[in-house]
Subunit: 205 residues, 2 copies
Protein backbone atom coordinates (compact mmCIF):
# COMPACT_ATOMS: atom_id res chain seq x y z
CA UNK A 1 0.00 0.00 0.00
CA UNK A 2 2.77 2.38 0.98
CA UNK A 3 4.53 1.52 -2.28
CA UNK A 4 1.41 2.25 -4.29
CA UNK A 5 1.07 5.64 -2.64
CA UNK A 6 4.71 6.44 -3.37
CA UNK A 7 4.24 5.41 -6.97
CA UNK A 8 1.16 7.56 -7.23
CA UNK A 9 3.07 10.47 -5.77
CA UNK A 10 5.92 9.94 -8.20
CA UNK A 11 3.46 9.76 -11.11
CA UNK A 12 1.95 13.01 -9.88
CA UNK A 13 5.36 14.66 -9.84
CA UNK A 14 6.17 13.39 -13.33
CA UNK A 15 2.82 14.61 -14.66
CA UNK A 16 3.30 18.02 -13.05
CA UNK A 17 6.85 18.15 -14.44
CA UNK A 18 5.61 17.32 -17.92
CA UNK A 19 2.84 19.92 -17.69
CA UNK A 20 5.27 22.61 -16.53
CA UNK A 21 7.67 21.70 -19.32
CA UNK A 22 4.86 21.80 -21.89
CA UNK A 23 3.65 25.21 -20.74
CA UNK A 24 7.20 26.61 -20.80
CA UNK A 25 7.62 25.30 -24.34
CA UNK A 26 4.26 26.75 -25.41
CA UNK A 27 5.54 30.15 -24.33
CA UNK A 28 8.96 29.53 -25.92
CA UNK A 29 7.39 28.59 -29.28
CA UNK A 30 5.26 31.75 -29.22
CA UNK A 31 8.28 33.93 -28.42
CA UNK A 32 10.38 32.22 -31.13
CA UNK A 33 7.63 32.68 -33.73
CA UNK A 34 8.08 36.44 -33.23
CA UNK A 35 11.81 36.85 -32.49
CA UNK A 36 13.31 33.61 -33.78
CA UNK A 37 15.05 30.83 -31.87
CA UNK A 38 18.25 32.87 -31.46
CA UNK A 39 16.26 35.50 -29.59
CA UNK A 40 15.24 32.80 -27.13
CA UNK A 41 17.34 32.69 -23.98
CA UNK A 42 16.73 31.13 -20.58
CA UNK A 43 16.88 34.67 -19.18
CA UNK A 44 14.13 36.00 -21.45
CA UNK A 45 12.03 32.89 -20.94
CA UNK A 46 12.35 33.32 -17.16
CA UNK A 47 10.88 36.82 -17.48
CA UNK A 48 8.09 35.62 -19.80
CA UNK A 49 7.08 32.63 -17.65
CA UNK A 50 7.71 34.21 -14.25
CA UNK A 51 9.94 31.24 -13.35
CA UNK A 52 13.44 31.42 -11.93
CA UNK A 53 16.40 30.86 -14.21
CA UNK A 54 17.53 27.95 -12.05
CA UNK A 55 14.05 26.41 -12.29
CA UNK A 56 14.30 26.65 -16.08
CA UNK A 57 17.81 25.21 -16.08
CA UNK A 58 16.36 22.13 -14.34
CA UNK A 59 14.22 21.59 -17.46
CA UNK A 60 16.75 22.66 -20.13
CA UNK A 61 20.46 22.49 -19.54
CA UNK A 62 21.46 24.98 -22.23
CA UNK A 63 20.10 27.48 -24.73
CA UNK A 64 20.68 24.96 -27.51
CA UNK A 65 18.68 22.26 -25.70
CA UNK A 66 15.90 24.79 -25.14
CA UNK A 67 15.92 25.71 -28.86
CA UNK A 68 15.74 22.09 -30.01
CA UNK A 69 13.01 21.24 -27.46
CA UNK A 70 11.04 24.30 -28.61
CA UNK A 71 11.27 23.18 -32.24
CA UNK A 72 9.99 19.67 -31.44
CA UNK A 73 7.23 21.08 -29.27
CA UNK A 74 6.14 23.43 -32.10
CA UNK A 75 6.15 20.44 -34.45
CA UNK A 76 3.73 18.56 -32.16
CA UNK A 77 1.38 21.52 -32.30
CA UNK A 78 1.71 21.66 -36.10
CA UNK A 79 1.00 17.92 -36.37
CA UNK A 80 -2.15 18.25 -34.27
CA UNK A 81 -3.40 21.39 -36.03
CA UNK A 82 -2.41 20.81 -39.66
CA UNK A 83 -1.05 17.36 -40.46
CA UNK A 84 -3.32 14.92 -38.63
CA UNK A 85 -6.89 16.22 -39.21
CA UNK A 86 -6.81 15.63 -43.03
CA UNK A 87 -6.04 11.94 -42.39
CA UNK A 88 -9.75 11.35 -41.89
CA UNK A 89 -9.81 11.38 -45.71
CA UNK A 90 -8.25 8.82 -48.03
CA UNK A 91 -5.18 10.05 -49.96
CA UNK A 92 -6.34 12.18 -52.90
CA UNK A 93 -7.73 15.60 -53.76
CA UNK A 94 -10.05 15.87 -50.76
CA UNK A 95 -7.17 15.20 -48.38
CA UNK A 96 -4.87 17.67 -50.18
CA UNK A 97 -7.61 20.31 -50.04
CA UNK A 98 -8.07 19.69 -46.30
CA UNK A 99 -4.31 19.90 -45.72
CA UNK A 100 -3.96 23.18 -47.63
CA UNK A 101 -7.04 24.71 -45.97
CA UNK A 102 -5.83 23.68 -42.50
CA UNK A 103 -2.35 25.02 -43.18
CA UNK A 104 -3.63 28.42 -44.34
CA UNK A 105 -6.05 28.52 -41.37
CA UNK A 106 -3.17 27.75 -38.97
CA UNK A 107 -1.29 30.78 -40.30
CA UNK A 108 -4.31 33.10 -40.46
CA UNK A 109 -5.50 32.29 -36.92
CA UNK A 110 -1.95 32.61 -35.56
CA UNK A 111 -1.73 29.33 -33.71
CA UNK A 112 1.71 30.72 -32.85
CA UNK A 113 1.75 34.36 -31.78
CA UNK A 114 4.00 35.52 -34.64
CA UNK A 115 2.41 33.42 -37.39
CA UNK A 116 4.08 30.33 -38.79
CA UNK A 117 6.83 29.24 -36.39
CA UNK A 118 8.56 27.22 -39.11
CA UNK A 119 8.61 30.00 -41.65
CA UNK A 120 10.30 32.23 -39.06
CA UNK A 121 13.02 29.75 -38.10
CA UNK A 122 13.70 28.56 -41.66
CA UNK A 123 14.53 32.12 -42.68
CA UNK A 124 16.41 32.69 -39.45
CA UNK A 125 18.70 29.66 -39.80
CA UNK A 126 18.89 29.63 -43.61
CA UNK A 127 22.18 31.47 -43.98
CA UNK A 128 23.67 30.68 -40.57
CA UNK A 129 26.60 28.38 -39.89
CA UNK A 130 25.78 24.71 -39.48
CA UNK A 131 25.03 23.38 -36.01
CA UNK A 132 22.60 21.13 -34.15
CA UNK A 133 19.69 23.61 -34.21
CA UNK A 134 20.12 24.37 -37.90
CA UNK A 135 20.17 20.63 -38.64
CA UNK A 136 16.87 20.17 -36.83
CA UNK A 137 15.39 23.03 -38.89
CA UNK A 138 16.72 21.53 -42.16
CA UNK A 139 15.34 18.06 -41.36
CA UNK A 140 11.97 19.46 -40.35
CA UNK A 141 11.73 21.50 -43.57
CA UNK A 142 12.58 18.45 -45.69
CA UNK A 143 9.96 16.38 -43.85
CA UNK A 144 7.29 18.99 -44.59
CA UNK A 145 8.20 19.20 -48.28
CA UNK A 146 8.29 15.39 -48.58
CA UNK A 147 4.91 15.08 -46.89
CA UNK A 148 3.47 17.64 -49.31
CA UNK A 149 4.97 15.79 -52.30
CA UNK A 150 3.62 12.44 -51.03
CA UNK A 151 0.10 13.83 -50.68
CA UNK A 152 0.30 15.32 -54.18
CA UNK A 153 1.55 12.02 -55.55
CA UNK A 154 -1.79 10.46 -54.58
CA UNK A 155 -3.64 12.72 -57.05
CA UNK A 156 -4.67 11.01 -60.29
CA UNK A 157 -2.53 11.55 -63.41
CA UNK A 158 1.13 12.21 -64.04
CA UNK A 159 2.87 15.33 -62.79
CA UNK A 160 6.05 16.78 -61.25
CA UNK A 161 5.12 16.54 -57.57
CA UNK A 162 8.31 18.24 -56.39
CA UNK A 163 7.57 21.23 -58.59
CA UNK A 164 4.00 21.34 -57.26
CA UNK A 165 5.18 21.01 -53.66
CA UNK A 166 7.65 23.85 -54.26
CA UNK A 167 4.88 26.08 -55.60
CA UNK A 168 2.32 25.29 -52.90
CA UNK A 169 4.86 25.78 -50.10
CA UNK A 170 5.92 29.08 -51.72
CA UNK A 171 2.37 30.45 -51.98
CA UNK A 172 1.38 29.61 -48.39
CA UNK A 173 4.68 30.83 -46.96
CA UNK A 174 4.32 34.15 -48.81
CA UNK A 175 0.77 34.59 -47.49
CA UNK A 176 2.17 34.16 -43.97
CA UNK A 177 4.94 36.76 -44.32
CA UNK A 178 2.65 39.27 -46.00
CA UNK A 179 -0.08 38.83 -43.40
CA UNK A 180 2.41 39.32 -40.58
CA UNK A 181 3.99 42.37 -42.20
CA UNK A 182 1.02 44.09 -43.85
CA UNK A 183 -1.91 42.68 -41.80
CA UNK A 184 -4.15 42.11 -44.82
CA UNK A 185 -5.86 38.68 -44.57
CA UNK A 186 -6.78 38.84 -48.30
CA UNK A 187 -3.38 37.26 -49.02
CA UNK A 188 -4.77 33.93 -47.78
CA UNK A 189 -7.47 34.11 -50.46
CA UNK A 190 -4.77 34.91 -53.04
CA UNK A 191 -2.76 31.89 -51.89
CA UNK A 192 -5.82 29.59 -51.82
CA UNK A 193 -6.87 30.70 -55.33
CA UNK A 194 -3.39 30.17 -56.76
CA UNK A 195 -3.06 26.74 -55.13
CA UNK A 196 -6.52 25.67 -56.38
CA UNK A 197 -5.54 26.61 -59.96
CA UNK A 198 -2.41 24.48 -59.59
CA UNK A 199 -4.34 21.51 -58.18
CA UNK A 200 -7.12 21.76 -60.78
CA UNK A 201 -4.58 21.79 -63.61
CA UNK A 202 -2.88 18.73 -62.13
CA UNK A 203 -6.10 16.81 -61.55
CA UNK A 204 -7.21 17.36 -65.16
CA UNK A 205 -4.09 15.81 -66.69
CA UNK B 1 44.00 80.25 -53.77
CA UNK B 2 44.20 79.34 -50.09
CA UNK B 3 40.40 79.10 -50.12
CA UNK B 4 40.44 76.79 -53.11
CA UNK B 5 42.92 74.47 -51.41
CA UNK B 6 40.80 74.43 -48.27
CA UNK B 7 37.72 73.63 -50.33
CA UNK B 8 39.58 70.84 -52.09
CA UNK B 9 40.68 69.48 -48.73
CA UNK B 10 37.16 69.67 -47.44
CA UNK B 11 35.86 67.89 -50.55
CA UNK B 12 38.50 65.21 -50.00
CA UNK B 13 37.36 64.74 -46.44
CA UNK B 14 33.71 64.52 -47.49
CA UNK B 15 34.55 61.98 -50.18
CA UNK B 16 36.58 59.90 -47.74
CA UNK B 17 33.77 60.17 -45.19
CA UNK B 18 31.22 59.00 -47.73
CA UNK B 19 33.44 56.11 -48.83
CA UNK B 20 33.98 55.00 -45.25
CA UNK B 21 30.26 55.20 -44.57
CA UNK B 22 29.47 53.21 -47.72
CA UNK B 23 31.96 50.48 -46.86
CA UNK B 24 30.61 50.22 -43.30
CA UNK B 25 27.08 49.91 -44.70
CA UNK B 26 28.18 47.26 -47.22
CA UNK B 27 29.43 45.19 -44.30
CA UNK B 28 26.31 45.96 -42.24
CA UNK B 29 23.98 44.84 -45.06
CA UNK B 30 25.91 41.58 -45.45
CA UNK B 31 25.75 40.91 -41.70
CA UNK B 32 22.03 41.75 -41.59
CA UNK B 33 21.28 39.45 -44.55
CA UNK B 34 22.52 36.58 -42.35
CA UNK B 35 21.49 37.59 -38.81
CA UNK B 36 18.79 40.20 -39.40
CA UNK B 37 18.79 43.90 -38.54
CA UNK B 38 18.17 43.24 -34.84
CA UNK B 39 21.40 41.25 -34.71
CA UNK B 40 23.21 44.36 -35.95
CA UNK B 41 24.81 46.42 -33.21
CA UNK B 42 27.50 49.06 -33.28
CA UNK B 43 29.58 46.71 -31.13
CA UNK B 44 29.35 43.82 -33.60
CA UNK B 45 29.93 46.10 -36.54
CA UNK B 46 33.04 47.48 -34.85
CA UNK B 47 34.45 43.95 -34.62
CA UNK B 48 33.51 43.19 -38.25
CA UNK B 49 34.98 46.41 -39.70
CA UNK B 50 37.94 46.73 -37.35
CA UNK B 51 36.80 50.28 -36.52
CA UNK B 52 36.38 51.72 -33.06
CA UNK B 53 32.90 52.01 -31.56
CA UNK B 54 33.36 55.77 -31.21
CA UNK B 55 34.39 56.00 -34.88
CA UNK B 56 31.17 54.20 -35.81
CA UNK B 57 29.10 56.41 -33.49
CA UNK B 58 30.42 59.40 -35.48
CA UNK B 59 28.66 57.91 -38.53
CA UNK B 60 25.52 56.52 -36.84
CA UNK B 61 24.19 57.94 -33.63
CA UNK B 62 22.18 54.90 -32.58
CA UNK B 63 21.41 51.31 -33.44
CA UNK B 64 18.12 52.40 -34.98
CA UNK B 65 19.85 54.94 -37.25
CA UNK B 66 22.32 52.25 -38.26
CA UNK B 67 19.47 49.85 -39.07
CA UNK B 68 17.60 52.38 -41.20
CA UNK B 69 20.79 53.49 -43.01
CA UNK B 70 21.61 49.81 -43.69
CA UNK B 71 18.16 49.24 -45.19
CA UNK B 72 18.46 52.23 -47.53
CA UNK B 73 21.98 51.23 -48.52
CA UNK B 74 20.79 47.68 -49.32
CA UNK B 75 18.00 49.17 -51.40
CA UNK B 76 20.53 51.13 -53.50
CA UNK B 77 22.35 47.88 -54.22
CA UNK B 78 19.05 46.18 -55.12
CA UNK B 79 18.13 49.05 -57.44
CA UNK B 80 21.48 48.84 -59.24
CA UNK B 81 21.46 45.02 -59.49
CA UNK B 82 17.79 44.20 -60.11
CA UNK B 83 15.52 47.17 -60.76
CA UNK B 84 17.47 49.43 -63.13
CA UNK B 85 19.03 47.07 -65.74
CA UNK B 86 15.64 45.92 -67.19
CA UNK B 87 14.79 49.56 -67.95
CA UNK B 88 16.80 49.26 -71.16
CA UNK B 89 13.65 47.53 -72.45
CA UNK B 90 10.26 49.13 -73.04
CA UNK B 91 7.53 48.08 -70.57
CA UNK B 92 6.21 44.63 -71.58
CA UNK B 93 7.09 40.96 -71.50
CA UNK B 94 10.78 41.40 -72.34
CA UNK B 95 11.22 43.82 -69.44
CA UNK B 96 9.30 41.56 -67.03
CA UNK B 97 11.46 38.61 -68.10
CA UNK B 98 14.63 40.65 -67.52
CA UNK B 99 13.39 41.78 -64.11
CA UNK B 100 12.54 38.23 -62.99
CA UNK B 101 15.81 36.81 -64.35
CA UNK B 102 17.84 39.54 -62.65
CA UNK B 103 15.99 39.06 -59.36
CA UNK B 104 16.58 35.29 -59.32
CA UNK B 105 20.24 35.85 -60.32
CA UNK B 106 20.66 38.36 -57.47
CA UNK B 107 19.49 35.70 -55.00
CA UNK B 108 21.44 32.81 -56.55
CA UNK B 109 24.73 34.74 -56.74
CA UNK B 110 24.28 36.04 -53.19
CA UNK B 111 24.81 39.73 -53.84
CA UNK B 112 24.28 39.88 -50.06
CA UNK B 113 26.17 37.25 -48.09
CA UNK B 114 23.04 35.61 -46.62
CA UNK B 115 20.92 35.76 -49.79
CA UNK B 116 18.09 38.25 -50.21
CA UNK B 117 18.49 41.00 -47.60
CA UNK B 118 14.83 42.00 -47.96
CA UNK B 119 13.46 38.51 -47.53
CA UNK B 120 15.43 38.23 -44.28
CA UNK B 121 14.25 41.52 -42.78
CA UNK B 122 10.63 41.15 -43.91
CA UNK B 123 10.36 37.89 -41.99
CA UNK B 124 12.32 39.35 -39.09
CA UNK B 125 10.09 42.41 -38.64
CA UNK B 126 6.82 40.82 -39.73
CA UNK B 127 5.45 39.99 -36.31
CA UNK B 128 7.36 42.58 -34.27
CA UNK B 129 5.94 45.65 -32.64
CA UNK B 130 5.65 48.73 -34.78
CA UNK B 131 8.51 51.19 -34.85
CA UNK B 132 10.61 53.28 -37.27
CA UNK B 133 12.63 50.33 -38.63
CA UNK B 134 9.54 48.16 -39.14
CA UNK B 135 7.88 51.06 -41.00
CA UNK B 136 10.83 51.32 -43.36
CA UNK B 137 10.60 47.57 -44.02
CA UNK B 138 6.83 47.78 -44.64
CA UNK B 139 7.18 50.71 -47.06
CA UNK B 140 10.02 49.02 -48.93
CA UNK B 141 8.00 45.80 -49.30
CA UNK B 142 4.98 47.70 -50.62
CA UNK B 143 7.20 49.55 -53.11
CA UNK B 144 8.57 46.25 -54.44
CA UNK B 145 5.10 44.70 -54.81
CA UNK B 146 3.78 47.86 -56.49
CA UNK B 147 6.69 47.92 -58.91
CA UNK B 148 6.07 44.27 -59.78
CA UNK B 149 2.34 44.95 -60.33
CA UNK B 150 3.12 47.99 -62.50
CA UNK B 151 5.46 45.99 -64.73
CA UNK B 152 2.85 43.23 -65.06
CA UNK B 153 0.21 45.79 -65.92
CA UNK B 154 2.16 46.61 -69.09
CA UNK B 155 1.61 43.08 -70.46
CA UNK B 156 -1.10 42.83 -73.12
CA UNK B 157 -4.55 41.58 -72.12
CA UNK B 158 -6.63 41.73 -68.98
CA UNK B 159 -5.55 40.11 -65.74
CA UNK B 160 -5.38 40.46 -61.93
CA UNK B 161 -1.93 42.04 -61.60
CA UNK B 162 -1.98 41.99 -57.80
CA UNK B 163 -2.65 38.26 -57.83
CA UNK B 164 0.20 37.75 -60.31
CA UNK B 165 2.56 39.96 -58.30
CA UNK B 166 1.67 37.94 -55.19
CA UNK B 167 2.49 34.68 -56.94
CA UNK B 168 5.74 35.84 -58.55
CA UNK B 169 7.00 37.36 -55.29
CA UNK B 170 6.06 34.13 -53.48
CA UNK B 171 7.91 31.86 -55.93
CA UNK B 172 11.14 33.88 -55.94
CA UNK B 173 11.12 34.38 -52.17
CA UNK B 174 10.66 30.63 -51.63
CA UNK B 175 13.56 29.85 -53.95
CA UNK B 176 15.72 32.16 -51.83
CA UNK B 177 14.83 30.56 -48.48
CA UNK B 178 15.21 27.03 -49.84
CA UNK B 179 18.55 27.81 -51.46
CA UNK B 180 19.88 29.32 -48.23
CA UNK B 181 18.62 26.43 -46.10
CA UNK B 182 19.13 23.42 -48.37
CA UNK B 183 21.85 24.71 -50.77
CA UNK B 184 20.23 23.25 -53.88
CA UNK B 185 20.28 25.82 -56.73
CA UNK B 186 17.66 23.78 -58.66
CA UNK B 187 14.99 25.75 -56.75
CA UNK B 188 15.77 28.75 -58.98
CA UNK B 189 14.85 26.68 -62.04
CA UNK B 190 11.64 25.61 -60.27
CA UNK B 191 10.82 29.25 -59.54
CA UNK B 192 11.69 30.40 -63.09
CA UNK B 193 9.56 27.61 -64.64
CA UNK B 194 6.57 28.39 -62.42
CA UNK B 195 6.82 32.13 -63.12
CA UNK B 196 7.12 31.54 -66.91
CA UNK B 197 3.93 29.41 -66.85
CA UNK B 198 2.16 32.26 -65.06
CA UNK B 199 3.43 34.90 -67.52
CA UNK B 200 2.66 32.76 -70.60
CA UNK B 201 -0.90 32.20 -69.39
CA UNK B 202 -1.31 35.95 -68.82
CA UNK B 203 0.16 36.95 -72.17
CA UNK B 204 -2.18 34.58 -74.03
CA UNK B 205 -5.39 36.07 -72.59
Amino acid sequence: MATETEETREDGRLTRGRKTRASILDMAADLASVDGLEGLSIGRLAVATGMSKSGLFAHFGSKEELQVATYFHARERFLAEVILPPREFEPGRERVDALVAGWLRYMRTEVFKGGCFFSEVRTEFGSREDGPVRQVVVKGTLRWLELLARELDALPGDRDVEQMAFEIDALGTAANYRFQLLQDPAVFDQAAAAIAVRLDAATVY
